[in-house]
């Protein structure tokens, strides 16, 4: 029917940046929940991406993540963000146990010339949904985190980006000899996000 012409989903740079930073916010919450960094009771369910997503209710973590995603959005609009890494470390030894790596490829044309692209919203949502599902199922193969953990978020940006007030320069916090699992990626036609999780070898597995 004529009225049901598929509305051409126009994606602007700003829109794409918003999608990606929102995705990161939800992904971070999901990782914190699934890996048990914060107690399960502190999360509440919301509906997003067609899935029940869990968001932390802890004020501190909430504001942390929202400040973070605001800055990421800004960088994404400028096309300066290369990747975002969420690092999970043991509280006691400050040893890096897991690294959730989200690499971002930006279409430089869009940044420079300000054009927009087309992609159906549903399609993007489906792709994000697949990644969220994979994050949730990752607990089946990731080694147990028995000890209290803390997390950090690293951003890899272009060298000409000034370091904002709430960020400091850091080392990459790599894991030696990690196991790596590549998850699905999603693409807004302006930003392409690849997901990879690398984790420290669980001693039990080494035979």
């Amino acid at each position: 029917m004529a009225s049901r012409t598929v509305a051409k989903d126009i994606i602007t740079l700003r829109g794409s940046a918003a999608i990606v930073s929102e995705f990161f916010g939800y992904a971070a919450n999901s990782i914190l929940y699934n890996r048990g960094v914060y107690p399960e009771e502190s999360f509440a369910k919301v509906k997003k991406y067609g899935l029940p997503m869990l968001l932390t209710q802890d004020e501190g973590v909430k504001s942390f993540i929202s400040n973070l995603t605001a800055q990421l959005s800004e960088w994404l609009e400028a096309g300066k963000l290369q990747r975002v890494v969420m690092v999970i470390m043991s509280k006691a030894a400050n040893e890096v146990l897991e690294r959730w790596n989200f690499s971002i490829e930006t279409d430089s044309d869009v940044v420079e010339k300000g054009v927009s692209r087309e992609k159906s919203d549903r399609e993007i949502m489906r792709e994000i949904q697949a990644i969220m599902r994979q994050i949730a199922s990752s607990i089946t193969y990731l080694p147990c985190l028995d000890e209290p953990c803390v997390f950090d978020v690293l951003a890899y940006t272009d060298t000409d980006v000034p370091v904002p007030f709430t960020w400091i320069e850091s080392d990459p916090k790599l894991i030696a000899n990690p196991q790596m699992v590549k998850l699905h990626s999603f693409d807004t036609k302006i930003h392409k996000v690849d997901t990879l999780v690398s984790y420290k070898n669980d001693e039990w597995d080494e035979q």
């Binding site: 048990g36 914060y38 107690p39 009771e41 802890d58 004020e59 501190g60 973590v61 504001s63 942390f64 400040n67 973070l68 800055q71 290369q82 697949a130 599902r133 994979q134 199922s137 089946t140 193969y141 028995d146 209290p148 803390v150 997390f151 950090d152 978020v153 690293l154 951003a155 890899y156 940006t157 272009d158 060298t159 980006v161 370091v163 904002p164 709430t166 960020w167 400091i168 320069e169 850091s170 080392d171 990459p172 916090k173 196991q179 790596m180 699992v181 590549k182 998850l183 990879l196 070898n201 597995d205």
Partner: protein, 483 residues
């Protein structure tokens, strides 16, 4: 994981083998007949190239193939990193090194914005852990204040005791008889009735016992001499059983392992004697570069620690002694290693003490050959004894420029904090020895006294500990050297 292509379709690719089942992300169809050799019907070959890697198909986009190729094939020699390149070049280098795999330079920032919640995790399992930790700490604090005796229980006069760091002239057998060499004479002192009995006297004036050790069942006493003689005595009948040959220098250290008597000498060799055989020489090891002054077999009898005057400590496996192949060669000490003691409650943990220039007690994991702890006592260490009743180690000291001179120091294990010190010796301590019940320690000093200290008691509450160890002693089967 069986190497079937088909399997990989249903899994998120991992680079490790695991048998956990993963909820299938049903994105791809499982084509079971792909790997079967019998083609039932023509199947359109589903050449599925997984976008995830499995063990056999690595994920190409995770690999940096150019770099790998260079590393594998390049023949350029490694040059040392102390280069003379100037600052500008270095800066350029640093900039270039921080390029990611796509060749884009990047910088990394970590978000330190609003503080994350510092509220403690309320996971039940963490709560439990905290409770357990608190109880443990309380326990530790309650174990009081170890009472260390201020004075010695007994002092025995030891005239003509030779002031020689390298000799080991004292041994307390499980028959409760202490054998001690005073000058050219060897005396036996019975700790039950304090009876003294002279076992032997060496005539001539240029020979004397330099090493005295009871066998494990205290049936035989091994005496090593200055002139390189090694004798076995039966104490019941006060008779010389055997004389063993083999060394060409004084025998400063001896150690028993079942029927094997190991002796270390100034001729730098270690000889294993089988005292049952007519030709007693089982093996001779020439590894040390100087006098072998410390020898101790581990409690299970599988490892031998030997310390030399060249500051080296060797660990030997009982089964490999004949080939002269050592298990570990530890060169951390800066002075002669005379004091050696194996930990009674942790297998393969050895404590070694260094001489005057070293003064360190080092705790070793002899399985891996690494030093797990080190304390600087700043004094010559002549003896080490582990406390079987509490987790402690006692060190006996001789000369020192600073502290701990002529003292006995008690250290808690494994924290290695000093619990206390004892010492009334007027001059340096030469030897340390422990009673069979593990309560008393004797120190032989150059001031010609033997002092008895009840420092290791009392046995821990419930006496369960010492009972268990006795039982273990009865039931344990010592591994003997197989020929």
């Amino acid at each position: 994981m069986k190497a079937q292509r088909g399997d990989s379709l249903n899994r998120i690719g991992t680079l490790q083998d695991d048998s956990t089942t993963v909820p299938p992300i049903t994105v791809f169809r499982y084509h079971s007949s792909f790997s079967s050799s019998i083609k039932k019907h023509p199947v359109s070959a589903f050449f599925f190239i997984p976008s995830v890697g499995d063990r056999f198909l690595p994920n190409r986009c995770l690999m940096d193939l150019d770099k790998a190729h260079t590393l594998l094939t390049s023949k350029t020699p490694q040059f040392n990193t102390s280069s003379n390149f100037n600052q500008a070049y270095r800066q350029k280098l640093i900039e270039n090194l921080s390029l990611d795999s796509q060749g884009r330079p990047f910088k990394i920032m970590v978000f330190r914005g609003s503080p994350k919640s510092s509220r403690k995790s309320i996971r039940f399992v963490d709560e439990l852990r905290q409770e357990v930790a608190a109880i443990f700490e309380k326990d530790c604090k309650q174990t009081p204040y170890r009472c260390i005796p201020k004075g010695e229980k007994r002092v025995l006069d030891a005239p003509r005791l030779r002031n020689d760091y390298y000799s080991n002239i004292m041994s307390w057998g499980i028959n409760n008889i202490l054998a001690v060499a005073l000058g050219p004479e060897l005396y036996l002192w019975n700790s039950e009735d304090q009876a003294v009995h002279k076992l032997l006297q060496v005539r001539g004036g240029n020979d004397w016992p330099t090493s005295v050790t009871w066998s494990e069942d205290a049936s035989t006493l091994a005496v090593g001499y200055m002139c390189s003689n090694l004798q076995l005595w039966d104490v019941e009948s006060s008779k010389l059983i055997r004389s063993l040959q083999g060394h060409s220098g004084r025998i400063a250290s001896t150690a028993w392992n079942g029927h094997i008597l190991t002796s270390g000498s100034r001729d730098k060799s270690i000889i294993n004697h089988d005292v049952r055989a007519a030709n007693s020489l089982a093996s001779c090891i020439k590894r040390h570069a100087d006098e072998v002054c410390g020898l101790k077999w581990s409690t299970e009898g599988n490892r031998l620690a030997s310390g030399g005057n060249e500051n080296l400590l060797y660990i030997w496996e009982a089964s490999k002694m004949s080939s002269s192949k050592f298990l570990h060669r530890l060169s951390d000490h800066c002075a002669a290693v005379k004091a050696l003691a194996w930990c009674p409650y942790q297998n393969n943990v050895l404590a070694s003490g260094g001489g005057l220039s070293d003064g360190c007690i080092k705790i070793w994991n002899t399985e891996k050959g690494i030093c797990i702890n080190n304390i600087e006592t700043k004094a010559q260490i002549c003896g080490l004894e582990w406390n079987r009743h509490h987790k402690e180690i006692l060190s006996g000291h001789g000369y020192s420029i600073r502290e701990n001179q002529n003292k006995l120091c008690l250290w808690r294990y494994p924290s290695m904090t000093k619990v206390g010190e004892l010492g009334n010796h007027k001059s340096r301590i030469i030897n340390l020895c422990q009673s069979p019940d593990g309560i008393t320690v004797i120190s032989a000093g150059a001031d010609e006294t033997l002092r008895f200290w009840d420092v290791f008691g009392p046995p821990t509450a419930g006496a369960g500990n010492s009972m268990v160890s006795d039982l273990q002693g009865l039931l344990s089967f010592r591994t003997s050297l197989l020929r």
